[in-house]
């Protein structure tokens, strides 16, 4: 019966995740509009255009599906799937109640990061196979950014793992019952800030959205995509963002831990949405950095800080006598 439970659980998680992803687009448009002195989606669905995501999906389904003549056909059609699937797999590792995750693996933390990075391969495949110059430049930028920002991302995420002494996400959450890792003096805040900046770069969010810098590269890696394939990229992007928000909430903000008047899963969801809104706030406030500036910020600032912080965390653990 174990497999049946896992199946039901994964369907539930997938359903919740996809619904959230659909409504995050609506949330983003509303928040962006609010920041910009606008109203945002309003007429599709009575209170504040709540049916807008469904209308968008319906529109994208009936759009013409075009594969460019000179594109690498197989890779071109595979790329959206390569982007969406690893992003959604990430949700499987996030524990949403005590000891309850779809996949509770001893190395679930590392598996999550592996799948999160795999999603970027879809972006690269799309840019490469489109046989479009803008898409090509975009995918090359993606590689440069991913190769750089993965390092501080991983180094800052290793801090909680070192403090707990485990790569099992459920154990990392359990260890934060008293105090979430972001409140650890010095180490926690530095790790979170470094992680957050690296995450913005990893997720192509402004001010590091160089991969889809539409003022330079038109629509960047998905410039040749239409209809549902384009929609898959968008869904993949939001799913990826939300999954990484989930990781941040789990690793730094104590995951499902919270005052008992709300169930743990709701706390987790609230924290995820909170981080997502923070990303939006930054995204709709700042100008984009240039590619050389982005790489310089990474190698000259984030990387040394992340490394020193990891050493400090290790020293903390050794001094307090072992992990945990």
């Amino acid at each position: 019966m174990n497999w049946l439970l896992t199946l039901l659980l994964s369907i539930a998680v997938l359903g919740v995740a996809m619904t959230c992803v659909a409504y995050l687009t609506w949330l983003e448009r509303k928040i962006a509009a609010r920041m910009q002195n606008r109203i945002g989606p309003f007429w599709v669905g009575y209170p504040h255009g709540w049916l807008q995501p469904l209308a968008d999906v319906a529109k994208l389904i009936i759009k013409e599906d075009i594969t460019p003549k000179n594109a690498d056909r197989v890779l071109f059609n595979l790329a959206p799937v390569m982007m969406v699937v690893p992003s959604l797999i990430g949700f499987a590792f996030i524990p949403f109640a005590a000891g309850l995750a779809v996949v509770d693996h001893p190395y679930s933390f590392l598996l999550f990061l592996a799948f999160a990075s795999l999603a970027l391969l879809g972006v690269f495949a799309a840019g490469w196979s489109s046989n479009n110059k803008y898409a090509l430049i975009s995918s090359l930028r993606m590689v440069a950014m991913a190769v750089s920002y993965e390092i501080p991302l991983l180094l800052s995420l290793l801090v909680p793992a070192v403090l707990v002494g485990s790569f099992r996400l459920t154990e990392i959450v359990e260890a934060q019952q008293g105090m979430p890792f972001i409140l650890y003096p010095g180490i926690g805040q530095v790790a979170f800030v470094v992680f957050f900046i690296a995450m913005l770069a990893e997720l192509n969010k402004a001010p590091f959205d160089l991969v889809e810098a539409e003022s330079e590269l038109v629509a960047a890696y998905n410039v040749e995509y239409t209809g549902m394939k384009f929609a898959l990229f968008y869904a993949g992007e939001y799913a990826h963002t939300f999954a990484v928000c989930g990781l941040a909430a789990t690793v730094f903000l104590g995951g499902y831990n919270g005052p008992a008047f709300l169930p743990g899963a709701v706390w987790l969801l609230l924290k995820m949405v909170g981080i997502f809104v923070l990303i939006l706030w930054i995204r709709w406030s700042f100008m984009r950095v240039r590619i050389d500036q982005a790489l310089m910020i990474n190698w000259k600032i984030l990387f040394p800080i992340a490394l020193l912080n990891l050493v400090a965390a290790a020293w903390w653990v050794v001094r307090s006598g072992g992990a945990g």
């Binding site: 962006a32 920041m35 910009q36 002195n37 606008r38 110059k133 803008y134 090509l136 430049i137 930028r141 402004a206 001010p207 959205d209 889809e212 810098a213 539409e214 003022s215 330079e216 038109v218 995204r283 709709w284 406030s285 700042f286 100008m287 984009r288 950095v289 240039r290 590619i291 050389d292 500036q293």
Partner: protein, 382 residues
Amino acid sequence: MTEEIRVVDRELGELALNMGPQHPSTHGVLHLKVHLRGETVVKAIPGIGYLHRGVEKLSENLAYEQLAPIFERNDYLGPTANSLGYVVAVERLGGFEVPRRGAWLRTLVAELQRIASHLVWLGTLGLDLGGALGGGTTLYMYCFREREKILDYMEELTGTRFHTNFNLIGGARYDITPELAAKAVDLANQMEACLGEMRNMTSATAMFRGRVEGIGVIPRDLALSVGVTGPVLRASGVKFDVRKDAPYDAYPDLQFDIPTRTEGDALARFEVRMDEIAESAKLVRQLVEGLPDGPIFTRKPIKNPKGLKVKPNEVYAAVESPRGELGFYIVADGTFKPYRLKINAPSFCNLQVIPHIAPGLLLADVIATLGSLDPVLGDVDR
């Protein structure tokens, strides 16, 4: 151009990229042919003509009286500056008198539209630097919120929001009421107040400064030899402004400064335009306070456009449009329509500097530079 014909060097992995005419950041239908090595630009050639409407030829077949509103469609972000340049030229050509009140009103509308035009420039610079899916849109929306107030004012004054057709040969078309005059002062104060907010979103942030500081530097001698005009020229340290150096309408009687910078980079051009908004706001207040009494035009627009004949003569007259020196060269042959009319468009002059400053920049810098030059393609192609 020394390297007009330059083949892409595939051995070095060069890439020829045609940016535009359909591109979100080329400010209309500009076509930039860019040779890239990695992301570094080796060569950039602007291709223009996608918005050519033959206005100069068209003007040889229309009466003097009919032409002013047509030129307002050239530089569609600062419409009155165009018709103002034309009417000033025709007035000098035919020796038509302009009553003082009319001249001051024309100046008032021109300065308000200068602010509106600079606000659009700031918003689109935001789009160029921050993207349509990022902080740029936020700046854009705030700029348009402020610009909307000016357009509303124009609607109240002239009945039209945008292409106001305010300037007549020999005066201004609509008179201003005391309430509207008070509103103009209020508007100028609001524009000045919004500058601080705009600066908080742009030059106060490290990201914006990092994108424009030291980018697209036009040295003084290059600026003079290429012949850039307006804020672009003044950002390179040349204090030239038609309003001061060849004054027209109300400008001889007004007190104002010409903001200049010496750095010549995109940030300097940004600073010059921001200061110009403040100066224009000052000018609007002065214009309302010192508005003379009297008629606003010497000659009413006539029903029969063929009635206005100009004796054989030729003239070059320039005004300071939001983009720089906008000159009209008109040759009259004694009939009711110009024999030849040539427009010296500021955007066209400013765009010529791109091939000189683009090599060595990154692709993103080319967009930032282009945004700081503020070309309007309707003005470039005419």
